[in-house]
Symmetry: C2
């Protein structure tokens, strides 16, 4: 499997079509490792692998780009080994684009004894308790070692809920760190010959003025893309929708917009209608490993008793290996027997479902009929847990 | 993936070539689900799946037949569901041959409070403590529900070491159970239209006269094949070799010989030279899940520090997906990060190694040069732990 670096290719984004009735749009991101059609869902490959799946399987289900977590990869296997390997693409043998986060979010959610300073954040490894520090400059350096096509700035993600006074200070810190990341990016060469873009991250919790201020401050630098951070952290869905709208009014049309850590299928639909282009989330893989799989009618849980003698595939309309090969009854058996093949097949199917959902939205937008598509999606898709979800497990 | 049942095909075995200097031989087993070239290694699919792998991957690495464990499948998902599914082939979507054991061995090794009677063995499930009984007739019935191409008789496997007096009684019981299994087999129709063979199991621990007596008694019935049971349970390697020789002098040339639960690569080589045709063992998959992988130079453990910066594949001469795609350094990272992909790739590579080892032996036998092949195998393959095996883990 040859890697397809095209070092001469610079990062770019073009809007291909704009839905007439919503803010939904189709676009194309170009990177040194190939093109990405948006709206796009990015599977999460925390430790240099999307859990349970091979690169071949990811390509087979239609993954265009995967995400790597800088915090995890910095700690293990570490910058030195990644650099020796020639970057994350070669190390993991993934030839398509990679986006890496800055590591900041994981420091706040996983690391012990984290302490935020003006200069950065000090923390102890969740693996061995060793001491480390991330700074705006260090996370750019680490992401240079990773060689991701899209790097992210270091930001502070305030927990929800947070006091206004805390958010005001935090948003300013995120802006100052973004500027330092921008400079570090401008002043450091890529290590493997191909260009790497850097995205800024808008913060501001659920305060409209803080979100606007964050956008305005980040827009003083010409970042190749803008992410919305600090959402899907416990706030009401309506607040998330409002923040997306507030930000997308200010963010430029000609830059990709990335909603970090989102979400469920219905969250993606809502965000796409508000003009978001990129998503990442562990839901399809994490839930798939627990037996929750997605269908056009909503999620079902394969461990439930009602599937014991169900010799249909997960979804009749799905072309994934799990659906082409196995019945719900067999998959239920595998989950109850705690067989690893179950975890693989749940993950594989769910990623295929997510990618097909995005494909379906791209087609609807290109045809100018996103509103109609959205209506028909909700007519079929049961957001609330179905009987299959709530049935007692035997 | 259509199933390829050929219901009209009866079980048969033909010796294709006999090595002139050893007892090694090549053969062909024909079943309703296809042909099997021997000597053959059968991956173990305990719960209706070879751990971590898909049926497609098993075919890709060259698996000709897999094994299912009757004890596990009887308890979960149970006879009724397997029958509803149309048997194990359809349930697991495995279109090639399947061999099932009788469940006896697992009752002795896994179940609680087992009690052997003349009629059979009573035991409690290791899953939920429920009470069950296996009899010669019941295990044939269960294997009819499974629809395996090769069924095994219920036997008692004496632990090692056992007193002569115990082994004498046990061998007689195994013979009486074999006769009852033979009758149950003759008197029950297959459930899914394809014919199912039944193999007898020779016991007798490491007592030459008991092994001979067991062979003679079982030979009074025209079983389609004969297995050697109760070996590789702790006895010295020399005793295992001797028992194989003693039995294979008595067992007919025109019936396949199956050494149950064996073993390491060198054990397979030794047994093939003594005329064994079939093997099953969890070593390639279980050890692969722990990072021990096999190469022409012997086993190595990928978790070891010496592989940290080793950007070579597991084996340069291997054509498996793991070796074509990933480096030892990446695999070591996956094992340390406890990623499921590591368990898959270790299993996949090891099964490919085992199947290629058998292929290589078949070629050598067909060419009449097994002794020479054996010599060159031992010249390269390090049986004792290598530096890579014993190096301290970081």
């Amino acid at each position: 499997m040859p890697l397809t670096d095209q070092p001469e290719t610079k990062f770019s984004f073009h809007v291909l079509s704009q839905d007439p009735n919503t803010r939904a749009r189709c676009g194309k991101i170009t990177t040194a490792h190939g093109e990405i059609l948006t709206p796009v869902f990015m599977p999460v490959g925390t430790q240099g692998t999307v859990k349970t799946l091979s690169p071949q399987e990811l390509e087979d289900v239609g993954s265009q780009i995967i995400l790597g977590n800088t915090y995890h990869l910095y700690l293990r296997p570490g910058e030195a080994l990644l650099q020796q390997a020639g970057g994350l693409h070669k190390f993991a043998n993934w030839r398509k684009p990679i986006l890496t986060d800055s590591g900041g979010f994981q420091v706040f959610s996983l690391a012990e004894l984290r302490k935020i300073h003006e200069n950065g954040v000090k923390f102890q490894s969740h693996i061995d308790g060793s001491y480390h520090e991330f700074t705006p400059e260090s996370v750019v350096r680490t992401q240079r070692c990773l060689g991701s096509d899209i790097m992210m700035v270091l930001d502070e993600c305030p927990p929800y809920p947070s006091e206004r006074s805390y958010v005001e200070k935090s948003t300013q810190l995120t802006s100052r760190w973004a500027e330092r990341c921008f400079q570090a990016w401008q002043n450091s060469p890529p290590l493997y010959g191909h260009s790497q873009a850097l995205f800024a991250i808008v913060q501001g919790s659920i305060f409209i003025d803080q979100r606007r201020l964050s956008c305005e401050q980040l827009l003083t630098f010409d970042f190749p893309g803008y992410a919305l951070g600090g959402l899907a952290v416990g706030e009401p869905k309506s607040a998330m929708g409002e923040m997306i709208e507030v930000c997308n009014e200010l963010l430029p049309e000609n830059k990709p917009r990335y909603l970090m850590g989102v979400g469920k299928p219905e969250d993606l639909v809502e965000a796409v209608s508000r003009g978001v282009d990129m998503f990442d989330c562990v839901i399809p893989t994490r839930n798939g490993r627990k037996g929750q799989v997605f269908t056009a009618n909503g999620p079902i849980n394969l461990t439930n008793l009602i599937f014991r003698e169900d010799f249909r595939p997960i979804a009749e309309d799905c072309d994934c290996y799990a659906c082409r090969t196995f019945t719900r009854a067999y998959l239920r058996h595998l989950f109850h027997a705690e067989e690893i093949l179950a975890l693989r097949l749940g993950s594989l199917h769910n990623l295929r479902f997510y990618h097909k959902l995005m494909e379906s939205m791209r087609s609807a937008i290109a045809a100018g009929g996103f509103l109609q598509w959205q209506k028909s999606f909700y007519a079929t898709y049961q957001i609330k847990p179905t009987a299959a979800e709530t049935a007692s497990i035997d």
